[in-house]
Amino acid sequence: MMVKAMAATVRKTHYTEILNKYGMLLILVLLFAALSIKIEGFASLRNVFSILEQVSMFGIIAIGVTFAIVTGGIDLSSGAVVALASVVGATIVTGSEGYGMAIFAFGAAMFVGSICGLINGSITAFGRIPPFIATLGMMTMARGVAQLVSNGRPIDASSDAFTSIGDGSVFGVPGLVVIYVIVAVVCHIMMSRMTFGRHVFAIGGNVNTARICGVNVELTLLKVYVLAGALAGLAGAMLTSRAYAGNPTFGNMWELDAIAAAVIGGTSLAGGVGSVPMCIVGALIIGVMNKGLNMLGVDPYWQQIIKGMIIIGAVLLDAQKRKKA
């Protein structure tokens, strides 16, 4: 009898676990289905790619932020880093035409992002000050530098080679989506299958234990913030290529969207829990919602209100499901 009861509970566990793991995916699917019924053409490949393209940039940032959050930290500077990277990328590419220059601009944007991340990471890891403050400071600084570099003006970036990355497509898949997928796959492997990722979780789980287990906590944190910075830089370059210009006002408040995506995806702000695929689900929920509200032509004031409600609602629903199950 006991054994039977056990078997029953074991089966129940599986449902619970699946709900825990994939509850948000379900919410995403439901949201998408609802909008598909409401809006003609919403459930088309073309629209899906369009959503993915729109999501790709802050989605990539969200992946970097997920790493930071899993260590128990945060990155508030990513929006400002997007601006700085876009300005730097545009400065490099403006007036030039070749692919070499275009790739160099992408590299430079990521490099600038990495430097910002390195500063964030050093301050956090060695200075032992809360990453909230370190990256808040960096947010102000990076935007200041972006404005200084650009003198407050957009910088034209309409080199054909460069913009073809944002405009072009590979076998029908938009270029930005291709980049998003590559980043997601690489980062997913890093997070779930590599020593680095395991150490990231360990730090978030218990930093003392991580130290006892021989994890180089400082180095790992440094890497995490450099990665987050580089990804924000990449997003900046992508946006520049999409918008044909770099602009110090780009990326405003993107850090909040990115963090929301990560948390909607189940990343715990207390650290130690999170995953790249679920972060993508979180980003897609935001993306689908944005697109749906725009296509429905919802009044901009109401859009904000509904957006806030959906974000809270999704997380609330997820939390309730878990509690009950």
Binding site: I189, T195, R198, N206, N208, R211, C213, V215
Partner: protein
């Protein structure tokens, strides 16, 4: 239905967690004013049963609980407290940011008008602590109070609730001998006030010393209740584990080889000074001392978790430089730390992840960690150490305290260490598992590894160690051989910090004496 002699009756109480039936129709009756021991192996369900009483878990439907003659269904701890039931939980975790007095009166602050009456709370706390013989400054922040003191404080707090029944879940795991006696005294004082006590412990000695009755649960099922005077140790063990077992561990001898670790004049001013000792292959080296003697700090320094200011460490006759734990791991030194919560568990990670963390590359295939390889190894460990967990993917936070400890030991066994340092390794571990861990330790020694064990359990140290180093107030008092080590001798050395005069001559011949001017 209810018995007027009993303060508490639990009838057919069950509790199911996802994947685990933690309690299956358990019965328990506690007589008014009695000390009732509750025993059972790790994961038997003792803490779960108590948490139900305290309103932390809701039991499955079907059972009944009567407290003081009334049906009892606490929804939250406050209900339990109001009904006259208090608990000292297994893992006490006071609010470290509050003072002793603030913790003492948390949730029932004394007020004067709309403001708190800080003075009254301080005075009252002082008074109660004095009465119970735990004098201390009540304005100290809890984070500066030692674990042992915190444990005694938690008991004092429970007493001050004017409870009719106090639950103590393994109150002695964080204590050393002398504090244990202090605790006994307090427990008896409490009983004299007519308060009943449920006393959970894995230590038979305590149970026989203190309790009037003892109940046993095994695998979530109620086995029975006996008067303590009517039962022998052997019978009790039999009830718990369901088979015959010896309580006293008899270790066999192992051949001891050349010197492996040589610690010379290690110092960290303010914590410990001039610690020197050697550990040989196949040797089990114990470190004894009272709480706060600095034992943990010494082993933490050897492992590189805390930096020593001066001194040398030699391994295989060569001086090595250990600055951080990864250096120690590189030299194949393992370290089971003392504080499970603070430096041991990664609470929201899986059992597997908790085990493999110190060294990940053995689980890599093509530079990627292979989940299946890792779980295979974890499963082997689970079987070997009989870790009670639904799967190795379970979050470690859901395991019972003892099983968590086993996972941590498994963590360092997986490193296949040359030297294994264990700081209070059997904290909260049941008798059966303890024996298994002892066997494992001896097995490691037989394989030529060196073992350093810090323990506050005298029996454990004496039955395991080849030699015991005794520390007092950060100094090394002396090192005693297995043949000469007695409980009395070690206690005396540890307490005085100086070698007692009467023994001096005797001991000079028995052991190397250090640190005596």
């Amino acid at each position: 239905m209810n018995n007027s002699d009993c303060i508490l009756e639990m009838i057919n109480v069950s509790k199911t967690f996802p994947g685990v039936k933690a309690l299956d129709q358990v019965n328990l009756s506690i007589k008014k004013g009695s000390i009732h021991a509750l025993m059972g192996e790790n994961g038997a369900g003792k803490s779960t049963l108590m948490k139900i009483l305290y309103g932390l878990y809701t039991p499955d439907a079907g059972g009944d609980i009567f407290f003081d003659g009334q049906p009892f269904t606490p929804k939250a701890p406050i209900d339990a407290i109001r009904s006259g039931l208090a608990m000292v939980p297994q893992e006490i975790s006071p609010s470290a940011n509050l003072s002793v007095a603030a913790n003492f009166y948390l949730g029932r602050e004394i007020k004067k008008g709309i403001l708190m009456d800080q003075n009254a709370m301080n005075n009252q706390t002082n008074k109660i602590l004095d009465e119970l013989g735990i004098p201390m400054s009540v304005e100290t922040l809890m984070q500066d109070v030692s674990v042992a003191k915190a444990q005694l404080l938690a008991i004092a707090t429970a007493v001050s609730y004017n409870a009719k029944l106090i639950i103590m879940d393994e109150p002695t795991t964080a204590l050393t001998e002398s504090e244990v006696h202090q605790l006994y005294r307090i427990v008896k004082k409490v009983q004299q006030r007519g308060i009943a006590i449920i006393y959970i412990s894995h230590k038979l000695g305590e149970v026989f010393e203190l309790s009037d009755e003892v109940s046993v649960i095994r695998d979530g099922q109620y086995i029975g209740t006996k008067k303590t005077t009517d039962i022998s140790k052997e019978e009790l063990i039999n009830m718990m584990v369901g088979r015959e077992m010896d309580e006293m561990f008899q270790r066999e001898d192992v051949t001891i080889g050349e010197t492996l670790l040589d610690v010379r004049h290690l110092s960290l001013p303010g914590k410990f000074e001039d610690i020197s000792f050697t550990v040989r292959k196949g040797e089990i080296f114990g470190i004894a001392g009272l709480v706060g003697a600095g034992r943990s700090e010494v082993v933490e320094a050897i492992f590189g978790y805390k930096a020593a200011k001066s001194g040398e460490i030699h391994l295989h006759g060569e001086q090595i430089d250990i600055r951080k734990p990864s250096d120690a791991i590189q030299h194949r030194i393992g370290f089971v730390t003392e504080d499970r919560k603070l430096t041991g568990l990664m609470l929201n990670m899986s059992v597997t992840d908790n085990m493999i963390m110190p060294e990940l590359h053995p689980y890599e295939k093509n530079h990627l960690i292979s989940e299946s390889l890792a779980s295979d190894v974890a499963n082997t460990m689970k079987q070997q150490l009989r870790i009670k967990t639904p799967t190795v993917d379970t979050i470690i936070g859901n395991l019972s305290g003892g099983n968590q400890q086993k996972v941590l030991i498994a963590r360092w066994l997986l490193l296949e260490p040359e030297i294994l340092i264990l700081d209070e390794p059997t904290k909260g571990i049941d008798i059966g598992a303890k024996a298994e861990i002892y066997k494992l330790i001896v097995e490691l020694a037989r394989l030529g590894k060196a073992i350093i064990i810090v323990s506050s359990e005298m029996l454990e140290l004496l039955s395991l160690s080849d030699r015991v180093m005794v520390m007092a107030e950060g100094r090394e008092v002396g090192i005693v051989d297995r043949e000469n080590a007695t409980q009395e001798l070690i206690l005396e050395m540890a307490a005085g910090g100086d070698v007692p005069a009467v023994h001096e001559q005797e001991m000079a011949s028995q052991c190397q004496i250090k640190g005596v001017a």
